[in-house]
Amino acid sequence: MNHRKRSALAVVAAASLALVGACAPGNAGAPSSAPASAGASSAPAAAYKPPTITLGTAADSKGPAIPPEGVVKGGTVTMIDRDDFSHFDPAQIYVNTEANFALLISRGLTGYKRIAKGDYKLVGDLATDAGTPSDGGKTWTFTLKDGVKWQDGSPITSGDVKWSVERMFAPFITFGPQYVQQWLTDTDYKKAYPGPYGGKELDNIETPDDKTIVFKFKAPHADAGYAFAMAGYNIVPKAKDTKEKYDKEPVSSGPYIIKSHVVDKSLELARNPNWDANTDPIRGAYPDVWKMEFGQEATQITDRFVADAGPDQTAFTFYANTPAERLQQVLGDASLADRRLISPSPYGNYYYFNLDRVKDQKIRQAINYAWPAKQIQQALGGPQAVALPTTILNENTTVGYKPYDLFGKTAKPEGDIEKAKQLLAESSNPHPTIVYAYNNLPTQEPVTLVIKNALEKAGIKVVAKSLDRKTYYDSISQTKNEFDLYWGGWGADWPSGSTVMPVIFGPISDGGQNMSHLNDPTITAEMKKISENPDINAANEAWMNLDKQIQETITPVVVAENRIATMLHGSKVGGAEIDPQQWIVSPNTIFVKQ
């Protein structure tokens, strides 16, 4: 026997030895049937409490921000994330990471003030309060605070606010929110007004003096105060507006100024000397310097925080979630307990029925009953990775949230096959075929298998159609698509059903968000009525009731599983909390421990 063969055989032998000798410990944990008591030293079993968001008063709107416990001012904090921010111009901001960054360099009329953990108030940011409605909610008046300045020391005036809203009509603004523009003019607002650059003003934004600004909407909007809290409505200086270029060189009204920015690599912030903490009830702005690193993958970031070595001790991440395969390690390590942040997503996720194809409500209900929610949860990493909501509206972003459970998911999260069979027997077709379209992602393959398995037990034939990930959303949002069931998500823009229901059950169009193609005159009329209700509390309650009513009378969706984010931060970072609405670590309370 020659050498080559001998060494090759040795490899085989060594490998077989490894096989025999390998001894991996078991994975401790309660039986999967008892999700409440998870793992020996895993995450606290306490149930997640959704945040309370209330309306603040003028007194609440006074600065400075309520400091988190043990706060220390000064120092340098590092933020590590995967993606750089593509936009700095407030009018172009819709994405949560960008909106979060905007908190550091720009301000708006209103914003959310953290009172305590899980307790938030909508307060005036630049304005003295969250806005005063009159004329039944059609007219909204804001008064600016004294002493609010741009980074060059010039005062922020009502003219700047008016300008900031007007420029959102300009053709080059394409990404930001659209609510206020539509309320001021028309659904197709870009046709109604071309923007301020041609010298034309919008008549229904009035500035009686330098401190007062009045918005006159076409219809009542009780939640306008919430709309102005979106980062997209943060302000831009009229005198220094550089149009398209502003996206790269913003002028700061917030506590920091961008000192340097290398695209996709790093960003550094220094203090803005003209920002006065006493005017700002929202931003703590405790560190002196912010350094941001981009281009790191979530697994890498998680491993860095677990190791907690050297400079990473003063680092945190905005958005890098612990990947599912690191979850047991991260949640099982007791020493990480005080560096863990956990929050379920604020998005509503649904498996939409295509109502044009699945016409029998009995079949839709049967699928809801048979739905293997628990198995999907298991496939995606268990109860610590995925929550199982039962309502259309998300608990994190609904003021006045009331849970309900129409399809017995609390009692039988693994699906009630008998009940489903019974409903199918009563339906028009006891053995229907359902075309389930799914995004061709590695995580979706096992989920699809689980769904197929469960529905087939109930006698439903499932055709699992894999769609290319690049064109997935385009394919399912075609109104004439050939699928029966598909996943989609939508996030509220502020904590109210008014930014969810009228969108996902609103106008049907190609590429639109009404993917179940629900078109019911009763529901549409009801949604219009609630939207224009001047009493915001009554409206919130009505949205919650409508949520249940829609699932009861139409059943256009199977409510999908909801991801739970688990994030880590360095041991010397204090005040890190996930903003439950934006699902991202807020910079407002961050400080560096000495």
Binding site: C23, Q378, A379
Partner: protein
């Protein structure tokens, strides 16, 4: 076999022919004789045959073992997987019931996944090897024998195929095939994916063999026995099949035994990259993919497909080496 091996058990294979009481043996018989004396070769052959048997007998094994590769045991039965979806018993859930443990999250039986996974890998690899070899033989001989412009033209195609980034192409092309051939409301059938993979692996696999055979044919084309055949008026077909091909069997056989394990790995690699078989078909490459994600919590799940693939590829490669040694004892390494 007519010749008892005991007649010359201690003598080196090459010297057998020179022995005075030599019995006439065909090259095939000689090869067999030499091969049987190569212990590595025999062991590898046994392993390879074992793998093939497992693949063929998978349904029988499943019946005896009492499990199938499709049922999600871990999900249907509480107490097998913990909250995070990992096996609760040590070693990835190995027990008298689940011999090789259970798959994380979905909870399928790992042993059955492995056994049926061999089928997927071997089926695709064997078909692709046969097709590759056939195309390689035909193209190689044509190029070598015809020469001139044909040779030049085929040579350039071979260059192109060899320089093509095949993995990237397959990743990009597979979804296109699905899009083209599958109606928008139909599932991609398992056979279509298998056929696509086989064809694509074949398309990118034949060039190497063809180039090798072309070289061999070129060197033989001007030899005396071919010249003699030409002079006696043999048709090109006769020359190719009766004169050239018998002399090419050695490289063909060696190449294809080495090609098969390469294709098994290629198929696993493609599944690993996400363009292999779907989730419902047991597949080694996909097991690997999942295992690399969960290895920190369930190292056992990485070991089984890893070791199985390692043993199979090494055994097949050693078999290829032994076959070459047996055919061509003059090469001393």
């Amino acid at each position: 076999m007519t010749t008892p091996t005991s007649t010359a058990p201690e003598i080196d294979a090459t010297s057998v022919t020179e022995a005075p009481e030599a019995v006439g043996r065909s090259p095939g018989q000689l090869m067999w004789l030499r091969f049987r004396r190569d212990r590595t070769g025999v062991i590898s052959a046994a392993i390879v045959i074992f793998f093939f048997l497992v693949a063929i007998l998978a349904p029988v094994i499943s019946m005896v073992y009492g499990k199938d590769p499709y049922t999600l045991y871990g999900q249907d039965r509480p107490g097998l997987l913990n909250d995070f979806g990992y096996a609760m018993a040590p070693n990835g859930g190995i027990s008298s019931e689940f011999w090789f443990g259970i798959e994380p999250n979905l909870g399928r039986d790992v042993f059955m996944q492995l056994v049926y996974g061999i089928r997927t890998s071997l089926l695709i690899a064997v078909v692709a090897t046969i097709l590759t070899t056939l195309i390689g033989i035909v193209v190689g001989i044509i190029a070598g024998y015809a020469g001139g412009k044909t040779d030049f033209f085929i040579g350039r195609i071979i260059d192109l195929m060899l320089s093509f980034p095949q993995v990237l192409f397959i990743i990009a092309f597979t979804p296109v095939v699905d899009q083209l051939l599958v109606p928008s409301n139909e599932e991609t059938p398992v056979w279509l994916r298998a056929v696509t993979l086989t064809i694509l692996l074949t398309v990118f696999g034949w060039a190497g063999l063809a180039r090798l055979l072309r070289g061999q044919v070129l060197s033989m084309r001007e030899r005396e026995f071919v010249e003699a055949a030409k002079v006696t008026g043999a048709s090109p077909a006769r020359i190719v099949f009766k004169e050239l091909l018998p002399n090419l069997w050695t490289p063909i056989l060696i190449q294809s035994t080495l090609l098969l394990p390469a294709l098994v790995t290629a198929e696993a690699a493609l599944s690993f990259l996400g363009v292999g078989m779907g989730e419902q078909v047991p597949d080694w490459g996909r097991m690997f993919l999942r295992a690399t994600q969960v290895y920190q919590n369930d190292i056992t799940y990485l070991i089984f497909p890893g070791v199985a693939l390692l043993i199979f590829v090494i055994a097949f490669n050693l078999l290829g080496d032994s076959v070459r040694d047996a055919f061509d004892p003059k090469i001393k390494r």
